[in-house]
Amino acid sequence: MKVHLDRVRAKPAVTPLVSGGLGWFSIALGVAEIAAAGPIARALGLPPAAAWLIRGFGAREIATGVGVLSAPANPQWLMARVGGDALDLAALAFAARPGNLKRNNALAATAAVAGVTAIDAIASGRLARLKTSSSGQKYLREAA
């Protein structure tokens, strides 16, 4: 079915698409972290008790993912993701310590998380600037 759209329209903005994608990614990652916390801990060379930490991280990912999807144009949820990414990177820094037999896995995960962090930070920064792009002129208001 052909759907007509008006030629008078703006180009689709990229940032909300990225934001929505990050929301779904966050939920998928969170589900994976909760469902496979043990295998993830082993793959990173972490002790079995770290599985509970990974499950906690998974719950956080799901919460921020739902937040992002509920308001894709709100930079605060993406900023929250940046904060969560910092926690992930701290945990991965511990996993990437010398002597860990799975150090290469931890380094690869660190690189991946750093990449996602950069996308989170850039997208939230762009959305934050958008929120304040109004001219700021005062609106005339009549007493009701």
Partner: protein, 390 residues
């Protein structure tokens, strides 16, 4: 040119877009001098209306000056000031012949899409998603008006924009709500929501002679405006149980005429009730929060009429249809057939019988639009109605 565009859920922007051109001999190009943000624009903003596409130009309440006309236009002239109704209609189909302009059979370019959603096509609307034709809206510097000899209301050159602007949507919508409810002398009318459409429904019910008009609202500034518009009683639903209060005010009988001027995104005074619907919509078990509609059905006197100008677009859940059936209620609803009422309402406005400007609380330019959308949505700063000047 600049226009307000929809770039995703809760993401409205003021952006550069191509200028419109005459695409059909029956088109006209309007230079927009005033436009407004409608409550139903908030449904689009919040993602409640399906088939919005990123980059769509918003706006279905606007007026302006005719700057170009197609070769088959005979009624409008360049230089005319026109208020453009939000419904686009052809004037040639069976529905237009009956005056059912908002269900015109030809003006929706995406009629197949509408048929899949609703069984039949509905009219094309400005700035209101692909399912209503995908037409660019009027929150812009210029707009193309198809079938321009039909719908546009020619306004006197000396009538201020703000006096006549609302003839394109919210005034006839409020009027049609009262007319659909068959409001008459000695009637008791309950109106859910004292936003712009609710306020015009109250004013219309007063003009039609209703004896008792009960507004159901919680925002203080809207309550004050409801009284000014003609409400004889107000129920603050954040303080009082609406059903009990209506029974008390009507001697236990209930209002015989109920108007749901809220629609999709209702919030009840009962937090649990609201949370229930918010959860269902989040989980996609329903597409809207029909809290006002449920209350209206339960509150309405047997044999009464429920009129619904508030917009619904999908599938509401847990609507007590059995109560509506058993009480023999009449339900009337739908997008407004603006031109059915326009001439009469223009006269009443120009004669001063209907006050159109009292609800305007905020004004700005197009560049202020995104922020004013949020102000209106959040009901901040006493916001009731926003008018923008491109």
């Amino acid at each position: 040119m600049r226009a307000l565009t929809w770039q995703g859920k809760k993401d409205i922007r003021c952006e550069e877009v191509p200028e419109p051109e005459i695409e059909d001999p029956r088109d006209a190009i309007i230079r927009v001098t005033s436009c407004a943000i409608c409550g139903s624009d908030l449904h689009l903003m919040n993602g409640f209306i399906p088939t919005m596409c990123k980059g769509d130009v918003l706006g279905h309440e606007f007026m302006g000056e005719v700057v170009e006309i197609g070769s088959q236009i005979v009624r409008l002239k360049v230089g005319d000031r026109v208020v453009v109704p939000f419904t686009i209609w052809c004037g040639e189909c069976e529905q237009c012949a009956r005056g059912n302009y908002s269900v015109c059979q030809n003006s929706n370019r995406n009629r197949e899409l509408a048929e899949k959603f609703y069984g039949h096509t509905t009219a094309g609307l400005f700035g209101y998603s692909a399912i209503t034709g995908g037409y660019a809206g009027g929150q812009a510097e210029f707009v193309r008006v198809p079938w321009a000899d039909n719908a546009p209301i020619v306004a006197p050159q000396d009538a201020p924009d703000e006096q006549v602007l609302f003839l394109g949507d919210i005034l006839p919508t409020g009027w049609q709500a009262a007319a659909n409810a068959e409001v008459g002398p000695r009637d008791t009318v309950a109106v859910w929501g004292a936003g712009p459409v609710g306020l015009f429904a109250i004013q219309s019910a007063r003009i039609m002679g209703a004896e008792t008009i009960i507004a159901i609202e919680k925002q203080p500034e809207r309550i004050a405006m409801a009284r000014r518009a003609g409400a004889t009683h107000v129920i603050d639903y954040s303080q009082d149980n609406v059903l009990e209060a209506l029974k008390e005010l009507t001697g236990g009988k209930g209002p015989e005429k109920c108007i749901d001027a809220v629609g999709i995104e209702a919030d009840g005074g009962d937090v649990l009730h609201t949370l229930f619907d918010r959860t269902l919509t989040a989980m996609k078990f329903e597409t809207e929060r029909p809290i006002a509609l449920r209350e209206a059905i339960i509150a309405c006197q047997p044999g009464g009429i429920i009129s619904i100008p508030g917009v619904y677009g999908g599938i509401p859940a847990f609507v007590p249809f059995g109560a509506a059936f058993q009480k023999g209620l009449t339900l009337r609803m739908g997008q407004t057939h603006v031109n059915r009422w326009a001439d009469d309402l223009l006269r009443r406005v120009l004669e001063g019988e209907i006050d159109t400007t009292f609800m305007i609380t905020h004004r700005g330019g197009l560049e202020d639009g995104p922020e004013l959308y949020r102000t209106f949505r959040d009901k901040k700063d006493g916001c009731v109605k926003v008018v923008l000047t491109p």
